[in-house]
Symmetry: C2
Subunit: 409 residues, 2 copies
């Protein structure tokens, strides 16, 4: 029984958070550092960028998540990504963690690090280390703490993104909450995606990682095109056990209650990232049904959601089904275009626009009405099997796109 509640990373028991302006972005008045802190050590799980080029904080976190039993804090900065910075950059992760550990009375190896911003520039440690001290002072356990942190990790995001739910496990109420920053730009590959999820669930480290690893392919990864990942992409999940439920050590009913809640948090955050593309006016959802394999469905859905032509189509409110078929066609998946059915759907209704690969003589006005809503879904049925996938993106709204959006008129 999932119930949405107020807050984000501080919703779960024992979690504190803060956000401050350390001055990393000299010309900006915005907050640029965030901290998450748990009163007691947590088990931690993480998923990281698949980019061959990994930022120093990604290497730092991977090491900690893989080889350490517990974590207790996260320090995040925006402005400088600490990527392509060599040994020096990795050393700065250690200095930051050491400073935080001393202030928070934990070990440096229990402090996870996140960075987003310019690649190839060293961190201004004269700003970062005082920033860590400011973060420690600013920590709060209520919704204000989570709000501060969610604001501080924003770069070109137009709004903070956070959510929290409660669910029941072993007779106890468990809370899970999360925050993320996403792609301010139009394409997810243009900006680092950072996600931080906290829960007071009592669970083993192994099952926590398994739950996160199983969830990401259907949530955060469906916002981004395969491989189009930044050097810094990171999702961390911390569980401190303070809910007091009997420890989850196997995939029992409690485990599945948890994975359901995790799915809800990550789906919400993924859709928020997709819908908050720079200047976006609509969330663009693509469902592929009837694929033979999951991989096929994923590839087809991502190809459509990332096509500049389909995105421009959503902006132009123009049901140009050929663009959807074209994007499926170059995805690399083999299918029979002459079997594909396409449907557009939104709060304003549902309209079938193509059957067996050929356009229907649909009502253009009705189609325009449906495509003018803030959330638009395209469903493609490829009629080969039973596998499905859903991907999320946004429309393109800029001048260069207008040429495409108006192409048919």
């Amino acid at each position: 029984m999932l119930k949405q509640i107020e807050g984000g990373v501080t919703a779960a028991k024992g979690f504190w958070a803060s956000g401050v302006r350390a001055g990393i972005k000299e010309s900006s008045a915005k907050k640029d550092m965030a901290m998450i802190y748990s009163e007691v050590p947590c088990v931690g799980a993480g998923t990281f960028t698949t980019n061959v080029v990994k930022a120093a904080p990604v290497k730092w976190d991977q090491e900690l998540i893989r080889h350490r039993e517990t974590a207790q804090a996260v320090v995040v900065n925006s402005g400088v990504a600490n990527a392509c910075t060599g040994e020096e950059g990795y050393g700065y992760c250690r200095s930051t963690a050491e400073t935080a550990a001393a202030l928070l009375d934990c070990k440096p190896e229990e402090v996870l690090i996140g960075s987003t911003g310019v690649i190839g520039k060293q961190l201004p440690m004269d700003k970062i280390l005082p920033g860590v001290a400011m973060l420690k002072e600013a920590l709060q356990s209520g919704p204000e703490g989570g709000q501060m942190a969610a604001e501080a990790i924003m770069t070109t995001d137009t709004m903070p993104k956070q959510i929290a739910f409660t669910f029941e496990a072993g007779g106890k109420t468990v809370t899970i909450g999360g925050m993320c920053k996403g792609s301010g730009m139009i394409h997810p590959n243009m900006c680092t995606m950072l996600g931080y999820i906290t829960t007071d669930l009592n669970i083993t480290k192994e099952l926590l990682q398994e739950a996160l690893s199983a969830d990401i392919p259907d949530t955060f990864n469906m916002v981004s095109v395969d491989g189009d990942t930044s050097t810094n992409d990171t999702v961390l999940l911390l569980a401190n056990g303070l809910a007091g439920n009997e420890k989850i050590t196997e995939k029992n009913a409690d485990y599945y209650s948890f994975t359901e809640a995790l799915r809800a948090v990550n789906t919400y955050l993924s859709k928020k990232i997709a819908g908050d593309g720079e200047g976006a006016t609509a969330l663009f959802e693509v469902k592929v049904v009837g694929a033979e394999t999951k991989a096929q469905a994923v590839t087809l859905a991502k190809s459509v959601v990332m096509s500049s032509l389909t995105k421009a189509m959503i902006f132009g409110h123009d049901a140009n089904f050929g663009r959807v078929l074209c994007a499926m066609g170059y995805s690399g998946v083999q299918f029979d275009p002459e079997k594909v059915d396409l449907t557009f759907e939104s709060a304003a209704g549902t309209i079938r626009i193509a059957e067996n690969g050929v356009g229907l003589d649909f009502d253009e006005e009705e189609a325009t009405r449906i495509l003018s809503e803030p959330e638009v879904t395209v469903t493609a049925d490829v009629k080969m099997g039973t596998e499905t996938a859903t991907a999320w993106g946004c429309d393109l709204t800029y001048d260069y796109v207008k040429i495409n959006a108006d192409y048919r008129s």
Copy 2:
């Protein structure tokens, strides 16, 4: 001895061409149909889109190129792509070819067809068939004919694209010329690429196809990302033998003189397509050297040239080497980022900006000067082997890009 001469598809002996306004784009005063005609039958070669969804004219041309010995004319329209149009659309290719054949006194199976424009809409045959008659009347054999045709195949291109060369084969002067239309939009996948090359060389059909197939991977295909091909992409090469050289039936010196000329034509046209991206201010060339395999080099070069972040970097005249490394990193190719050297180059000079994956303390002003030229080259040495590849694109110049271009300042 390659020599550039005036003209395009009508430069070679016996080729005529025309371009007219048939009214397919009702609201436009631009020419929208083109014809190429050879006084005598030609052997023909072609390469076509790899998109699973193939437009009707692509299917028509593939059939003719594969199964017919000769071709004598090409009819092209812009405005409507005749893609996703089923049996009806394929029938319209036949009607168009029949009409042209009757007027030109050849067989319908000797008339190749090309289309570009809106997907999913049927051709307005009440415009197309009269257009064919107008094209026949307008045919000219001089440079004016080639110019008319090059203008008529444009969609959002800002300028016609054509080139011609002469070379010697068996003591005879042979001429080769070509025209193309490209991506008016920023990404090559947004627009159909059509290329038409004519020559008066005497050569077998088999070797003609072999020469074209061998050339495309290093020329036209390096403008476009793997798989990001439209439903209509087509390059046709017609050879009518009127130069009078002894027929090329094996890979002798004459064959290699021809392939050199073909490479020159296709390279020129490819760079023109890349440099004519909508609103582009610069041709962006990416060279990868030191790869283990050709495929690696190609994938890395394309990943960099198509990255919105690197393209924005060229527009912003900002030597942000991390973006280049990042795009290489998500290409899927395994390499050691800590070995990569990066160099920027243009008419204003050459500057090394990163060595072994770490940024050098280069002169920012000099870098900006180099990146401000109309043609900018980035070279990445991955130090794994001896294979190389060159890809071409353009900068991004629109409002949405400014955010990226200014990101570092």
